[in-house]
Amino acid sequence: MGSGNITIDEAALVAQAMAGNMAAVEKLILKYQDRIYNTILKLCGNDADAAELAQDSFVKAIQGLKDFRAQSSFYTWLFRIAVNNTLNFCKKSSRLNFESLHREVDEETGSQLKDYLVDGNSLEPSELAAKKEVSSLILKALEKLDPQQRAVVVLRDIEQMSYNEIAETLDIEIGTVKSRIARGRKNLRDIIEAVIS
């Protein structure tokens, strides 16, 4: 996954992109487009918004390459732009979501999810998450988290970033990352358990 140090290949691509080489730009986009899109989707919860925000983030990043000092990896720099862009969007278009999550799961799936979270004697997590209802429930629960907590949880558990990378991406202290991850996961578990109990 992400690396704190810029690799030689990536450095060359970035240098070429900075020189105006559109082929290099395309390679950079293709390399990160899925991860950026996936992260933004988990943060904003809407396909159309995620596509637009991802596109906007790439354009900003490429156009701002002249400001890139290579002190962090291009990957971290790109994610910083994408996450900040998305969090700003969420702040501007914050909607109060009073929609109940109970209708997201049927009884059987709810029971399986409860067994998994409480007893651990159920399906494998991958099997559960493959269920559309469960993935939808988790995304909705993520949406209900505070945006700052949501960002660290997504970057850690979905994008698999290290605490250092998260701190660098969000420009916050490691201690803040730890506390936000702890609170975010606890709140997320509470929300899901409240739905299935």
């Binding site: 559109m22 730009v25 395309e26 986009i29 293709l30 487009q33 899925d34 991860r35 950026i36 899109y37 996936n38 989707l41 988990k42 396909d47 995620a50 596509a51 991802a54 596109q55 790439f58 354009v59 490429i62 156009q63 998994y116 979270l117 409480v118 651990g120 997590p125 991958s126 559960l128 998450a129 493959a130 469960v134 993935s135 988790i138 995304l139 949880v153 850690r156 558990d157 979905i158 698999q160 290290s162 605490y163 730890k178 506390s179 991850i181 702890a182 996961r185 606890k186 997320l188 578990r189 899901i192």
Partner: protein, 339 residues
């Protein structure tokens, strides 16, 4: 509470592999020995695994092309400087905002002025302005400035050109010495060659009436000659005929000068207006509010407003031009002895 939060942070860091070896071993021992810690750890671990098992979503098809197309478009626009926010553009934007704000302020001010002008009386506005500017209010004017003192340019009255209506006037003089007055009138008629134009002379006990039919200029000349008679009279009344048969404007306490001015008026409208004004002025002179006020204050008002026209000497009156052609006149002079 803080301990629980710290424990949760430690458990999360342990799950994420973010603890060093020593701390990691401590947490592992805690989990092995403490049932609650173990339950919390397992719950967290399962939740994390579930979240991590979510299927990743791929970017939509043609995403890369959209981004490159967007980039190319932006580069082209930057080249043509259409949408480039240069310093000049920012300055222009600020200038435009400033102009808009100024226009809005001007509009609001104009509307406020109109609303004030409509709904707030002028005196209230003046009072407010005096209060704001801390200046003394102007004394309230109760009466208009007399037209005699008004600046000339304020009274621009075009000479009215009315119809050529004959001058019809009746002058009634009340005197203690009717014989002397009669003699003076006869002398004046002789001097002005109007004796022959006297259509009737009616002499009764205590009164004499002369009826003259001539032109207006001759009457003016006659009044000029008659100014000596006024000091002999205690009262004089002039009646000026109107277009309406038998209707007259009556001027009480008329003076020689006033009579002459009225007769000199070169057209009917002018004559009537002057007669009306003088009648009103003389009436006011009789019942003047200032006179009443001074009377209440036990002050003598005679020196301010005379009760009646008083001539202490003959007035200097311009001689009218006798060769001017003027409208016909019917003038009646009646002398009444006072007894």
């Amino acid at each position: 509470m803080k301990d629980i939060e710290q424990l949760e942070e430690l458990l999360n860091s342990y799950i994420d592999g973010e603890l060093d070896e020593r701390k990691s071993n401590e947490v592992k021992r805690l989990i092995d020995n403490d049932k609650n810690a173990r339950l919390a750890f397992e719950s967290l671990h399962r939740c994390r695994k579930l979240l991590g098992s979510l299927r990743p979503s791929a970017a939509p098809e043609g995403f890369c092309e959209s981004v490159t197309r967007d980039l190319e478009r932006n580069i082209l626009l930057a080249d043509t400087e259409v949408y480039q926010h240069s310093k000049k553009g920012k300055r222009r934007l600020i200038y435009r905002h400033f102009i808009t704000a100024a226009a809005m302020i001007a509009l609001v001010a104009a509307l406020s002025y109109v609303v004030l002008d409509i709904f707030v009386p002028k005196s209230a506005r003046q009072k407010f302005a005096d209060n704001v500017l801390n200046r003394k209010p102007k004394p309230q004017v109760l009466f208009e400035q007399p037209f005699a003192q008004a600046p000339e340019q304020d009274i621009v009255v075009a000479a009215p050109k009315g119809p050529s209506v004959p001058l019809v006037a009746k002058l009634t003089l009340i005197t203690d010495s009717p014989v002397e007055a009669d003699w003076l009138i006869g002398k004046a008629l002789m001097n002005t060659a109007l004796f022959d134009k006297t259509s009737a002379v009616d002499r009764k006990t205590g009164s004499v009436k002369y009826v003259l039919s001539c032109d207006r200029n001759s009457i003016v000349s006659l009044i000029g000659e008659l100014n000596f008679i006024w000091p002999k009279c205690s009262d004089a009344t002039l009646q000026i005929g109107t277009e309406q048969q038998g209707k007259f404007i009556t001027i009480n306490n008329v003076s020689a000068r006033q009579t002459l001015d009225i007769c000199k008026a070169d057209n009917y409208n002018h004559r009537l207006r002057m007669a009306s004004d003088i009648a009103m002025i003389n009436q006011i002179a009789v019942t003047d509010v200032l006179q009443n006020y001074l009377a209440k204050q036990n002050a003598d008002s005679d020196f301010i407003v005379p009760n009646k026209p008083v001539l202490t000497s003959s007035e200097k009156i311009e001689k009218p031009l006798s060769d001017n052609v003027s409208e016909p006149a019917n003038f009646t002079i009646t002398i009444i002895g006072k007894n």
